[in-house]
């Protein structure tokens, strides 16, 4: 009984942590620009695929990971510079559509470069699962949780302790005012895309041993991450983490206790309920209409 529960919980938390990391990426860019970056899933894919192909070429794992993350970072900057920035004063909706276009473009390139097959990445440590009260935990899950926690703490410190982080926050609160006090908002936007890309690629790399990776893995995970961000309230860091974890756990519990057929239905009903009663999400900012 307990073993079953724990098993579902472990499953849920691992997937949930992944959703949370992706949701954080959405949150970051949303905060800086009110744009929902639908290319977020592609950063994930770039991280995983680049690491796999680099290790296949004989590059040591650690170096491959670093290079993959850097590649994703460059891509994030490029996305902002060449796709978002030229649109200048365009509507947020237009920008969102641009990110969808960009994601299709990136996916197309990845498909040409890396092919359409799924790829495996080795577990970071042992393949041997860990036994806890009769339930088993994939050792990679610990990596996902650990690295996820480190990233969350790192982000909090980045936003509260560093000048750049504060500049991003300032821009998200009031772009005009931020510009008046001398913050280069274009620069800030670029940074937000870069950090978000780094975050996404790291998430992509740590989950790749569990989910496999392929050129189109970003669609599925990106969408789930967006859902998590919406549950938590777009723009809230805590919300992204809570939203991600609860989505993962609800999915796993539904699959275990109700029926695997209704797993997604339960998850989506949860979203409907949350958004029905709390339209801004669990931790969404209160909007005060200025008159």
């Amino acid at each position: 009984m307990l073993a079953e529960f724990l098993q579902y919980l472990f499953t849920g938390i691992t997937i949930g942590a992944t959703y949370a990391l992706i949701a954080l990426g959405f949150t970051l860019i949303y905060n800086a620009s009110h744009v929902i970056n639908f290319a977020q899933g592609e950063f994930l894919m770039i991280g995983g695929m680049a690491t796999v192909s680099l290790t296949a070429m004989g590059v040591p794992m650690i170096l491959a990971v670093v290079l993959a993350v850097i590649l994703a970072g460059i891509l994030g900057v490029a996305l902002q510079r060449f796709a978002i920035a030229p649109a200048k004063q365009a509507d947020v909706v237009t920008l969102i559509i641009i990110t969808i276009g960009a994601s299709i473009f990136i996916r197309g390139i990845a498909q040409v470069v890396w092919g359409k097959e799924y790829h495996v990445m080795q577990n970071f440590s042992t393949d041997q699962p860990i036994q806890v009260f009769g339930a088993v935990l994939n050792s990679q899950s610990l990596w996902v949780l650990g690295i996820g926690a480190i990233l969350v703490v790192g982000l909090v410190l980045f936003f509260t302790k560093t000048l750049i982080g504060k500049a991003i926050l300032a821009t998200s609160m009031n772009k005009e005012a931020a510009r008046l006090v001398g913050i280069r908002t274009q620069m800030v936007l670029m940074l937000a895309f870069m950090v978000s890309a780094l975050l996404g690629s790291v998430a992509g790399i740590v989950v790749a041993p569990i989910t496999f990776t392929s050129y189109d893995i970003g669609i599925i995970l990106g969408l789930k991450g967006f859902v998590a961000a919406a549950i938590g309230g777009l723009g809230s860091g805590v919300g992204a983490v809570v939203g991600g974890l609860s989505l993962g756990i609800v999915e796993a519990m539904a699959a275990g206790y109700i029926s695997s057929d209704y797993k997604d239905a339960v998850a989506f009903s949860m979203i409907l309920l949350v958004l029905f009663f709390m339209p801004r999400g669990l931790f969404g900012a209160k909007v005060v209409e200025r008159v």
């Binding site: 499953t11 997937i15 992944t18 799924y118």
Partner: protein, 385 residues
């Protein structure tokens, strides 16, 4: 009154003239083989090797002088795994390209979308998709080369029975392949007096099936587990199965019978069994196996030409094209009715997938024994039966 007669006569003349022109042009014109395949998109692992196979063998046949003294021309479209675009392309192949025969339809969805069109236009159609609904009930103009999922279920359950297993757990994907496989498995199990004690599903985008497997493991009386699905899902199921330390006999379907599955599942796949095309074990086939030579040749030619691993799915296209060529040769023309009749009467064609014996009641022509039962041993396929 008089006017309409003249108008009608004029129309008739025009049609007759057009017909004559077409007839005279036909001798020099190539035979048009139409195809719509899922070359990109989620089912690209089907369509990609299928297209490569068609291209390669159309070229080869043309170098060797073509069919009926005419060259073959392959007209192909990419339906991206989307049934509605498959329907559009089938219509384009029939109406504007006016192909003589269609060999294509990577997925069951794409095939079924095109079936009403080919039935209406009366064009012979050889499908490359798996589900039993394509040829059962028999449709006059529709044939198919892969074994049905029902045969796979029959083959797996027979193997379980041989091992003394009567109660098993089923976990299947919710996609077309998985859900059709699930239905067939449930039916076959009932016929064979076996019991499906646990019945779980997962969706194609799921990344962890531990919860479902835990449920199966905790079900009373489970003696084996069968996973029906394709894509990366079954590989994740296999890994989760190993992580949970489940030691019941484990079966997969023919949907994952490829070397890339072994790569994805890694050591977790050790000991699992599945029904598969002999293409996976060309060298272990006994020498008196009629398919041995065909299988070895196809594998060698494909790998030499494309520098990538051969796949069972490409073999469906090989058999489809060869059946079409054989039917046209036997019919002595490309007249749709004659080709269709010839197709229906093909007996003893030795293909890569199996030995085909078509009949008016059976537009697939294969039997369950054309599947070989393989087991994964030391990371490689081993022929069991």
């Amino acid at each position: 009154m008089f006017k309409t007669v003249i108008r009608r006569a004029g129309k008739c003349a025009a049609v007759a003239a057009a017909g004559l022109m077409m007839m005279s042009a036909q001798a020099a014109e190539p035979i048009k083989i139409g195809s719509f395949l899922s070359v990109t998109g989620p089912a690209s692992f089907l369509g990609d090797p299928e297209l490569k196979t068609l291209e390669m063998y159309v070229e080869k046949i043309n170098e060797e002088g073509g069919v009926l003294g005419r060259q073959l021309e392959l007209i192909h479209y990419d339906d991206v795994g989307n049934a509605s675009s498959a329907r559009n392309f089938a219509s384009r192949l029939i109406r504007s390209d006016q192909v003589d025969i269609i060999v294509g339809g990577s997925t069951t969805g794409a095939t079924m979308a095109a079936v009403p069109l080919v039935e209406q236009a009366q064009v012979p159609f050889i499908s490359l998709a798996g589900a039993v609904v394509i040829t059962n009930p028999v449709k006059k103009w529709v044939f198919k080369t892969p074994q049905t999922d029902r045969m796979a279920a029959e083959r797996i359950l027979a193997d379980m029975k041989d091992r003394g297993i009567t109660k098993f757990g089923l976990i299947s994907g919710t996609g077309g392949f998985g859900s059709s496989g699930r239905t067939q498995t449930l039916e076959v199990a009932e016929q064979m007096g076996m019991e499906v004690v646990a019945d779980e599903t997962y969706s194609g985008s799921d990344t962890d099936m531990t919860a479902q497997l835990t449920n199966i493991r905790n079900t009373n009386g489970v003696e084996a587990v069968l996973n029906f699905g394709f894509g990366q899902g079954p590989a994740i199921v296999t890994r989760n199965y190993a992580q949970l330390g489940m030691e019941l006999p484990f079966y997969q379907s023919h949907g994952v019978a490829s070397d890339s599955f072994l790569e994805l599942a890694g050591s977790s796949a050790e000991g699992l069994r599945l029904p598969a095309s002999p293409l996976l074990v060309p060298d272990s086939l006994p020498n008196d196996d009629p398919q041995k030579e065909v299988v070895q040749n196809y594998k060698a030619e494909y790998e030499a030409r494309w520098d990538s691993k051969v796949s069972t799915f490409g073999a469906y296209a090989y058999d489809g094209l060869m059946l079409a060529v054989r039917a046209m040769e036997e019919a002595g023309s490309t007249d749709p009715e004659a080709v269709r009749n010839a197709l229906e009467n093909i007996k003893g064609y030795v293909g890569v997938t199996g030995v085909f014996n078509m009949s008016p009641e059976d537009h697939n022509g294969l039997d369950p024994e054309s599947f070989r039962i393989l087991e994964v041993q030391n990371g490689e396929w081993k022929l069991i039966d």
